[in-house]
Assembly symmetry: C2
DNA sequence: GTCTATACAGCGATAGAC
DNA sequence: GTCTATCGCTGTATAGAC
Protein backbone atom coordinates (compact mmCIF):
# COMPACT_ATOMS: atom_id res chain seq x y z
CA UNK A 1 0.00 0.00 0.00
CA UNK A 2 2.86 2.34 0.61
CA UNK A 3 4.66 1.19 -2.52
CA UNK A 4 4.29 2.34 -6.03
CA UNK A 5 6.05 1.22 -9.16
CA UNK A 6 9.00 3.46 -8.49
CA UNK A 7 9.74 2.47 -4.90
CA UNK A 8 8.70 3.31 -1.37
CA UNK A 9 6.46 6.30 -0.85
CA UNK A 10 8.43 9.37 0.10
CA UNK A 11 8.81 10.55 3.67
CA UNK A 12 6.34 13.39 3.44
CA UNK A 13 3.63 10.98 2.31
CA UNK A 14 4.48 8.66 5.17
CA UNK A 15 4.14 11.53 7.60
CA UNK A 16 0.76 12.45 6.15
CA UNK A 17 -0.45 8.87 6.42
CA UNK A 18 0.61 8.93 10.05
CA UNK A 19 -1.13 12.26 10.56
CA UNK A 20 -4.36 10.88 9.15
CA UNK A 21 -4.12 7.94 11.54
CA UNK A 22 -3.49 10.12 14.56
CA UNK A 23 -6.27 12.55 13.69
CA UNK A 24 -8.65 9.64 13.19
CA UNK A 25 -7.64 8.25 16.59
CA UNK A 26 -7.48 11.43 18.66
CA UNK A 27 -9.17 14.08 16.60
CA UNK A 28 -7.67 17.35 15.47
CA UNK A 29 -8.12 18.56 19.01
CA UNK A 30 -6.10 15.63 20.28
CA UNK A 31 -3.35 15.75 17.70
CA UNK A 32 -0.01 16.19 19.44
CA UNK A 33 3.04 16.74 17.34
CA UNK A 34 4.92 14.42 19.65
CA UNK A 35 2.40 11.63 19.12
CA UNK A 36 2.50 12.16 15.38
CA UNK A 37 6.28 11.86 15.50
CA UNK A 38 6.05 8.63 17.49
CA UNK A 39 3.42 7.24 15.12
CA UNK A 40 5.69 7.93 12.17
CA UNK A 41 8.78 6.75 14.03
CA UNK A 42 10.62 10.04 13.69
CA UNK A 43 11.52 12.99 15.88
CA UNK A 44 9.33 16.02 16.43
CA UNK A 45 11.98 18.20 14.85
CA UNK A 46 11.54 16.33 11.58
CA UNK A 47 7.86 17.18 11.57
CA UNK A 48 8.76 20.85 11.77
CA UNK A 49 11.27 20.36 9.00
CA UNK A 50 8.53 19.11 6.68
CA UNK A 51 5.72 21.36 7.86
CA UNK A 52 5.82 24.95 8.97
CA UNK A 53 3.86 24.38 12.16
CA UNK A 54 0.90 22.55 13.61
CA UNK A 55 -1.57 24.28 11.30
CA UNK A 56 0.61 23.35 8.34
CA UNK A 57 0.21 19.71 9.33
CA UNK A 58 -3.56 20.10 9.38
CA UNK A 59 -3.72 21.81 6.01
CA UNK A 60 -1.47 19.24 4.36
CA UNK A 61 -3.44 16.38 5.89
CA UNK A 62 -6.69 17.83 4.62
CA UNK A 63 -5.26 17.93 1.11
CA UNK A 64 -3.88 14.42 1.53
CA UNK A 65 -7.15 12.80 2.57
CA UNK A 66 -8.96 14.58 -0.25
CA UNK A 67 -6.56 13.15 -2.80
CA UNK A 68 -6.83 9.73 -1.22
CA UNK A 69 -10.63 9.85 -1.33
CA UNK A 70 -10.50 10.81 -4.99
CA UNK A 71 -8.40 7.75 -5.62
CA UNK A 72 -11.01 5.46 -4.02
CA UNK A 73 -13.72 6.88 -6.21
CA UNK A 74 -11.68 6.30 -9.33
CA UNK A 75 -10.54 2.78 -8.45
CA UNK A 76 -13.16 0.22 -9.29
CA UNK A 77 -12.59 -3.49 -9.54
CA UNK A 78 -12.36 -4.05 -13.31
CA UNK A 79 -13.95 -7.49 -12.97
CA UNK A 80 -17.04 -6.17 -11.20
CA UNK A 81 -20.16 -5.70 -13.31
CA UNK A 82 -20.45 -2.12 -14.56
CA UNK A 83 -22.73 0.06 -12.49
CA UNK A 84 -25.73 1.93 -13.80
CA UNK A 85 -26.10 5.63 -13.08
CA UNK A 86 -28.02 5.15 -9.84
CA UNK A 87 -25.49 2.55 -8.74
CA UNK A 88 -22.59 4.92 -9.28
CA UNK A 89 -24.40 7.61 -7.32
CA UNK A 90 -25.05 5.25 -4.43
CA UNK A 91 -21.50 4.03 -4.43
CA UNK A 92 -20.17 7.55 -4.20
CA UNK A 93 -22.46 8.49 -1.33
CA UNK A 94 -21.95 5.24 0.55
CA UNK A 95 -18.19 5.40 0.19
CA UNK A 96 -17.87 6.91 3.66
CA UNK A 97 -19.92 4.22 5.31
CA UNK A 98 -17.62 1.25 5.19
CA UNK A 99 -15.82 -0.72 7.82
CA UNK A 100 -12.56 -0.33 5.97
CA UNK A 101 -9.91 1.14 8.24
CA UNK A 102 -8.55 3.67 5.80
CA UNK A 103 -12.00 4.82 4.77
CA UNK A 104 -13.00 5.29 8.35
CA UNK A 105 -9.79 7.22 8.90
CA UNK A 106 -10.67 9.48 6.02
CA UNK A 107 -14.22 10.05 7.23
CA UNK A 108 -13.13 10.77 10.76
CA UNK A 109 -10.37 13.13 9.75
CA UNK A 110 -12.60 14.91 7.28
CA UNK A 111 -15.31 15.38 9.89
CA UNK A 112 -12.79 16.76 12.31
CA UNK A 113 -11.25 19.19 9.90
CA UNK A 114 -14.67 20.38 8.84
CA UNK A 115 -15.72 20.91 12.45
CA UNK A 116 -12.51 22.77 13.21
CA UNK A 117 -12.98 25.04 10.23
CA UNK A 118 -15.80 26.73 12.11
CA UNK A 119 -13.15 28.30 14.34
CA UNK A 120 -10.11 28.29 12.10
CA UNK A 121 -10.43 30.66 9.17
CA UNK A 122 -7.22 29.16 7.77
CA UNK A 123 -9.09 25.93 7.08
CA UNK A 124 -12.37 27.35 5.83
CA UNK A 125 -11.35 27.97 2.27
CA UNK A 126 -9.90 24.49 1.76
CA UNK A 127 -12.88 22.81 3.38
CA UNK A 128 -15.34 24.84 1.33
CA UNK A 129 -13.52 23.98 -1.88
CA UNK A 130 -13.48 20.26 -1.15
CA UNK A 131 -17.14 20.33 -0.25
CA UNK A 132 -17.99 22.13 -3.46
CA UNK A 133 -16.13 19.59 -5.56
CA UNK A 134 -17.96 16.76 -3.85
CA UNK A 135 -21.35 18.42 -4.30
CA UNK A 136 -20.64 18.96 -7.98
CA UNK A 137 -19.63 15.34 -8.45
CA UNK A 138 -22.87 14.19 -6.90
CA UNK A 139 -24.89 16.67 -8.95
CA UNK A 140 -23.28 15.28 -12.09
CA UNK A 141 -24.13 11.72 -11.13
CA UNK A 142 -27.71 12.76 -10.41
CA UNK A 143 -27.76 14.29 -13.88
CA UNK A 144 -26.76 10.95 -15.39
CA UNK A 145 -29.86 9.38 -13.88
CA UNK A 146 -32.17 12.22 -14.88
CA UNK A 147 -30.62 14.07 -17.82
CA UNK A 148 -33.72 16.21 -18.23
CA UNK A 149 -33.52 17.72 -14.74
CA UNK A 150 -32.50 21.36 -14.40
CA UNK A 151 -29.08 22.35 -13.08
CA UNK A 152 -30.49 24.19 -10.07
CA UNK A 153 -32.62 21.25 -8.98
CA UNK A 154 -29.66 18.89 -9.39
CA UNK A 155 -27.46 21.17 -7.32
CA UNK A 156 -29.95 21.38 -4.48
CA UNK A 157 -30.49 17.64 -4.41
CA UNK A 158 -26.75 17.14 -4.34
CA UNK A 159 -26.34 19.60 -1.50
CA UNK A 160 -28.98 17.83 0.52
CA UNK A 161 -27.56 14.37 -0.09
CA UNK A 162 -24.00 15.32 0.74
CA UNK A 163 -24.99 17.28 3.84
CA UNK A 164 -27.07 14.31 4.93
CA UNK A 165 -24.08 12.02 4.52
CA UNK A 166 -21.97 14.35 6.66
CA UNK A 167 -24.62 14.50 9.35
CA UNK A 168 -25.08 10.73 9.41
CA UNK A 169 -21.34 10.20 9.33
CA UNK A 170 -20.92 12.23 12.48
CA UNK A 171 -23.58 10.13 14.22
CA UNK A 172 -22.04 6.90 13.03
CA UNK A 173 -18.55 7.88 14.15
CA UNK A 174 -19.76 8.90 17.59
CA UNK A 175 -21.37 5.51 17.98
CA UNK A 176 -24.99 6.62 18.05
CA UNK A 177 -25.97 5.18 14.66
CA UNK A 178 -25.15 1.69 13.37
CA UNK A 179 -23.38 1.54 10.02
CA UNK A 180 -26.09 -0.53 8.43
CA UNK A 181 -28.81 1.87 9.42
CA UNK A 182 -26.85 4.84 8.13
CA UNK A 183 -26.56 3.14 4.76
CA UNK A 184 -30.29 2.42 4.64
CA UNK A 185 -31.06 6.04 5.38
CA UNK A 186 -28.82 7.21 2.56
CA UNK A 187 -30.41 4.80 0.11
CA UNK A 188 -33.83 6.08 1.10
CA UNK A 189 -32.77 9.68 0.65
CA UNK A 190 -31.32 8.97 -2.78
CA UNK A 191 -34.57 7.44 -3.89
CA UNK A 192 -36.54 10.38 -2.54
CA UNK A 193 -34.34 12.87 -4.38
CA UNK A 194 -34.51 10.84 -7.59
CA UNK A 195 -38.28 10.69 -7.32
CA UNK A 196 -38.36 14.45 -6.88
CA UNK A 197 -36.14 14.99 -9.91
CA UNK A 198 -38.28 12.66 -12.01
CA UNK A 199 -41.39 14.73 -11.30
CA UNK B 1 -32.23 38.02 30.16
CA UNK B 2 -30.44 36.93 33.28
CA UNK B 3 -33.34 37.86 35.48
CA UNK B 4 -36.38 35.90 36.43
CA UNK B 5 -39.32 36.76 38.65
CA UNK B 6 -37.46 35.72 41.76
CA UNK B 7 -34.26 37.69 41.17
CA UNK B 8 -30.96 37.31 39.44
CA UNK B 9 -30.15 33.95 37.90
CA UNK B 10 -27.90 31.93 40.16
CA UNK B 11 -24.16 31.84 39.72
CA UNK B 12 -23.99 28.40 38.21
CA UNK B 13 -26.38 29.43 35.47
CA UNK B 14 -24.34 32.54 34.80
CA UNK B 15 -21.22 30.41 34.48
CA UNK B 16 -22.97 28.10 32.04
CA UNK B 17 -24.14 31.02 29.92
CA UNK B 18 -20.56 32.22 29.84
CA UNK B 19 -19.36 28.72 28.93
CA UNK B 20 -21.80 28.55 26.01
CA UNK B 21 -20.52 31.90 24.78
CA UNK B 22 -16.89 30.88 25.00
CA UNK B 23 -17.48 27.52 23.32
CA UNK B 24 -19.39 29.24 20.54
CA UNK B 25 -16.50 31.67 20.10
CA UNK B 26 -13.50 29.36 20.43
CA UNK B 27 -14.82 25.84 20.15
CA UNK B 28 -14.51 23.11 22.73
CA UNK B 29 -10.83 22.75 21.98
CA UNK B 30 -10.34 26.46 22.37
CA UNK B 31 -12.14 26.61 25.69
CA UNK B 32 -9.67 27.75 28.33
CA UNK B 33 -10.80 27.71 31.89
CA UNK B 34 -9.03 31.01 32.34
CA UNK B 35 -10.95 32.58 29.48
CA UNK B 36 -14.20 31.23 30.82
CA UNK B 37 -13.41 32.78 34.17
CA UNK B 38 -12.66 36.12 32.54
CA UNK B 39 -15.83 35.93 30.47
CA UNK B 40 -17.86 35.34 33.63
CA UNK B 41 -15.90 37.90 35.63
CA UNK B 42 -14.76 35.42 38.27
CA UNK B 43 -11.59 33.58 39.22
CA UNK B 44 -10.56 30.23 37.81
CA UNK B 45 -10.77 28.72 41.27
CA UNK B 46 -14.47 29.46 41.36
CA UNK B 47 -14.97 27.49 38.19
CA UNK B 48 -13.44 24.48 39.90
CA UNK B 49 -15.60 25.08 42.92
CA UNK B 50 -18.73 24.74 40.77
CA UNK B 51 -17.49 22.05 38.38
CA UNK B 52 -15.30 19.08 39.05
CA UNK B 53 -12.95 19.73 36.15
CA UNK B 54 -12.81 20.78 32.52
CA UNK B 55 -14.88 17.83 31.36
CA UNK B 56 -17.46 18.66 34.00
CA UNK B 57 -17.82 22.08 32.43
CA UNK B 58 -18.43 20.50 29.03
CA UNK B 59 -21.01 18.05 30.31
CA UNK B 60 -22.88 20.72 32.24
CA UNK B 61 -22.81 23.05 29.25
CA UNK B 62 -24.21 20.34 27.01
CA UNK B 63 -27.10 19.86 29.41
CA UNK B 64 -27.56 23.61 29.67
CA UNK B 65 -27.84 24.26 25.95
CA UNK B 66 -30.24 21.36 25.60
CA UNK B 67 -32.53 22.82 28.21
CA UNK B 68 -32.27 26.23 26.64
CA UNK B 69 -33.14 24.85 23.20
CA UNK B 70 -36.16 23.10 24.68
CA UNK B 71 -37.28 26.43 26.03
CA UNK B 72 -37.14 28.02 22.58
CA UNK B 73 -39.27 25.28 21.13
CA UNK B 74 -41.87 25.75 23.82
CA UNK B 75 -41.98 29.54 23.72
CA UNK B 76 -44.18 30.80 20.92
CA UNK B 77 -45.49 34.30 20.57
CA UNK B 78 -49.10 34.01 21.84
CA UNK B 79 -50.26 36.68 19.37
CA UNK B 80 -48.88 34.86 16.34
CA UNK B 81 -51.34 32.86 14.27
CA UNK B 82 -51.40 29.22 15.30
CA UNK B 83 -49.27 26.96 13.13
CA UNK B 84 -50.52 23.95 11.26
CA UNK B 85 -48.72 20.63 11.62
CA UNK B 86 -46.32 21.23 8.74
CA UNK B 87 -45.60 24.70 10.07
CA UNK B 88 -44.68 23.37 13.48
CA UNK B 89 -42.40 20.81 11.91
CA UNK B 90 -40.66 23.45 9.82
CA UNK B 91 -40.30 25.75 12.77
CA UNK B 92 -38.63 23.03 14.80
CA UNK B 93 -36.19 22.13 12.04
CA UNK B 94 -35.41 25.73 11.11
CA UNK B 95 -34.86 26.74 14.73
CA UNK B 96 -31.12 26.31 14.33
CA UNK B 97 -30.93 28.49 11.24
CA UNK B 98 -31.49 31.94 12.65
CA UNK B 99 -29.32 34.96 13.00
CA UNK B 100 -30.19 35.24 16.67
CA UNK B 101 -27.03 35.36 18.76
CA UNK B 102 -28.16 32.91 21.40
CA UNK B 103 -29.48 30.47 18.83
CA UNK B 104 -26.22 30.58 16.93
CA UNK B 105 -24.41 30.01 20.20
CA UNK B 106 -26.52 26.95 20.83
CA UNK B 107 -25.97 25.55 17.36
CA UNK B 108 -22.26 26.12 17.45
CA UNK B 109 -21.82 24.64 20.89
CA UNK B 110 -23.99 21.67 20.03
CA UNK B 111 -22.03 21.00 16.86
CA UNK B 112 -18.79 21.18 18.79
CA UNK B 113 -19.89 18.85 21.53
CA UNK B 114 -21.23 16.39 18.99
CA UNK B 115 -17.96 16.46 17.07
CA UNK B 116 -15.98 15.99 20.28
CA UNK B 117 -18.07 13.04 21.30
CA UNK B 118 -16.41 11.02 18.54
CA UNK B 119 -13.28 11.01 20.68
CA UNK B 120 -14.66 11.48 24.16
CA UNK B 121 -16.66 8.51 25.37
CA UNK B 122 -17.71 10.60 28.37
CA UNK B 123 -19.81 12.75 26.07
CA UNK B 124 -21.21 10.07 23.79
CA UNK B 125 -24.06 8.96 25.98
CA UNK B 126 -25.34 12.48 26.60
CA UNK B 127 -25.05 13.43 22.95
CA UNK B 128 -26.79 10.27 21.82
CA UNK B 129 -29.63 10.85 24.28
CA UNK B 130 -30.18 14.43 23.16
CA UNK B 131 -30.13 13.37 19.54
CA UNK B 132 -32.67 10.67 20.22
CA UNK B 133 -35.04 13.08 21.93
CA UNK B 134 -34.81 15.47 19.02
CA UNK B 135 -35.40 12.73 16.46
CA UNK B 136 -38.44 11.55 18.38
CA UNK B 137 -39.86 15.07 18.56
CA UNK B 138 -39.52 15.43 14.81
CA UNK B 139 -41.03 11.99 14.22
CA UNK B 140 -44.01 12.99 16.32
CA UNK B 141 -44.49 16.21 14.35
CA UNK B 142 -44.28 14.25 11.11
CA UNK B 143 -46.96 11.99 12.52
CA UNK B 144 -49.22 14.98 13.05
CA UNK B 145 -49.03 15.76 9.35
CA UNK B 146 -49.53 12.16 8.27
CA UNK B 147 -51.28 10.26 11.05
CA UNK B 148 -51.62 7.19 8.85
CA UNK B 149 -47.88 6.75 8.34
CA UNK B 150 -46.14 3.85 10.07
CA UNK B 151 -43.87 4.41 13.04
CA UNK B 152 -40.80 3.00 11.28
CA UNK B 153 -41.25 5.27 8.26
CA UNK B 154 -41.75 8.28 10.52
CA UNK B 155 -38.62 7.43 12.46
CA UNK B 156 -36.48 7.13 9.34
CA UNK B 157 -37.77 10.38 7.90
CA UNK B 158 -37.05 12.09 11.20
CA UNK B 159 -33.54 10.69 11.29
CA UNK B 160 -32.86 11.92 7.80
CA UNK B 161 -34.24 15.39 8.44
CA UNK B 162 -32.38 15.91 11.70
CA UNK B 163 -29.12 14.57 10.29
CA UNK B 164 -29.54 16.87 7.32
CA UNK B 165 -30.02 19.83 9.63
CA UNK B 166 -26.82 18.93 11.46
CA UNK B 167 -24.89 18.58 8.23
CA UNK B 168 -26.17 21.89 6.88
CA UNK B 169 -25.59 23.57 10.20
CA UNK B 170 -21.93 22.64 10.12
CA UNK B 171 -21.62 24.11 6.63
CA UNK B 172 -23.43 27.26 7.60
CA UNK B 173 -21.32 27.82 10.69
CA UNK B 174 -18.08 27.33 8.77
CA UNK B 175 -19.19 29.98 6.33
CA UNK B 176 -19.56 27.79 3.27
CA UNK B 177 -23.36 27.94 3.05
CA UNK B 178 -25.52 31.07 3.34
CA UNK B 179 -28.25 30.95 5.96
CA UNK B 180 -30.99 31.56 3.47
CA UNK B 181 -29.89 28.71 1.24
CA UNK B 182 -29.68 26.34 4.18
CA UNK B 183 -33.25 27.15 5.06
CA UNK B 184 -34.42 26.56 1.50
CA UNK B 185 -32.73 23.19 1.47
CA UNK B 186 -34.44 22.16 4.68
CA UNK B 187 -37.83 23.22 3.38
CA UNK B 188 -37.24 21.16 0.27
CA UNK B 189 -36.25 18.14 2.27
CA UNK B 190 -39.31 18.40 4.49
CA UNK B 191 -41.55 18.44 1.46
CA UNK B 192 -39.77 15.45 -0.03
CA UNK B 193 -40.17 13.46 3.19
CA UNK B 194 -43.82 14.46 3.52
CA UNK B 195 -44.44 13.41 -0.08
CA UNK B 196 -42.83 10.08 0.65
CA UNK B 197 -44.93 9.56 3.76
CA UNK B 198 -48.09 10.44 1.85
CA UNK B 199 -47.46 7.70 -0.69
C1' DG C 1 17.40 15.26 6.34
C1' DT C 2 17.40 13.72 10.76
C1' DC C 3 18.48 13.65 15.50
C1' DT C 4 19.05 15.14 20.74
C1' DA C 5 18.23 18.44 23.88
C1' DT C 6 15.88 22.15 25.63
C1' DA C 7 13.75 26.73 25.94
C1' DC C 8 9.43 28.64 26.73
C1' DA C 9 4.58 29.24 27.17
C1' DG C 10 0.13 27.78 28.22
C1' DC C 11 -3.01 25.72 30.90
C1' DG C 12 -5.43 22.60 34.32
C1' DA C 13 -5.78 22.17 38.87
C1' DT C 14 -5.05 23.00 43.95
C1' DA C 15 -3.70 25.29 48.54
C1' DG C 16 -4.93 28.30 51.71
C1' DA C 17 -6.55 32.96 53.23
C1' DC C 18 -10.70 35.56 53.88
C1' DG D 1 -18.34 31.15 48.09
C1' DT D 2 -14.78 33.59 46.32
C1' DC D 3 -10.20 35.20 45.83
C1' DT D 4 -4.83 35.30 45.17
C1' DA D 5 -1.04 32.81 44.26
C1' DT D 6 1.28 29.18 42.47
C1' DC D 7 2.58 24.41 41.28
C1' DG D 8 3.66 21.23 37.84
C1' DC D 9 2.77 19.10 33.69
C1' DT D 10 2.25 19.06 28.81
C1' DG D 11 2.96 20.61 24.37
C1' DT D 12 4.85 23.76 20.55
C1' DA D 13 8.68 25.12 18.57
C1' DT D 14 13.73 25.94 17.92
C1' DA D 15 19.03 25.47 18.33
C1' DG D 16 22.65 23.16 16.95
C1' DA D 17 25.24 18.79 16.13
C1' DC D 18 25.81 15.17 12.71
Amino acid sequence: MREDGRGVADRRTMLLEAAARVIARRGVRGLRVEELAAEAGVSTALIYYHFKNRMGILRATLEFINDRADRYTGERDPDAPPLDARGELLETLLLEFQDDLEVRENSTAWGELRACAVFEPDLQEDVAKSTLVWVQDVAELLGHVHPQAGAAALAMSAERLTALVEGLSSRWLSGSLPLRHARDLVVGAVDAELARLAA
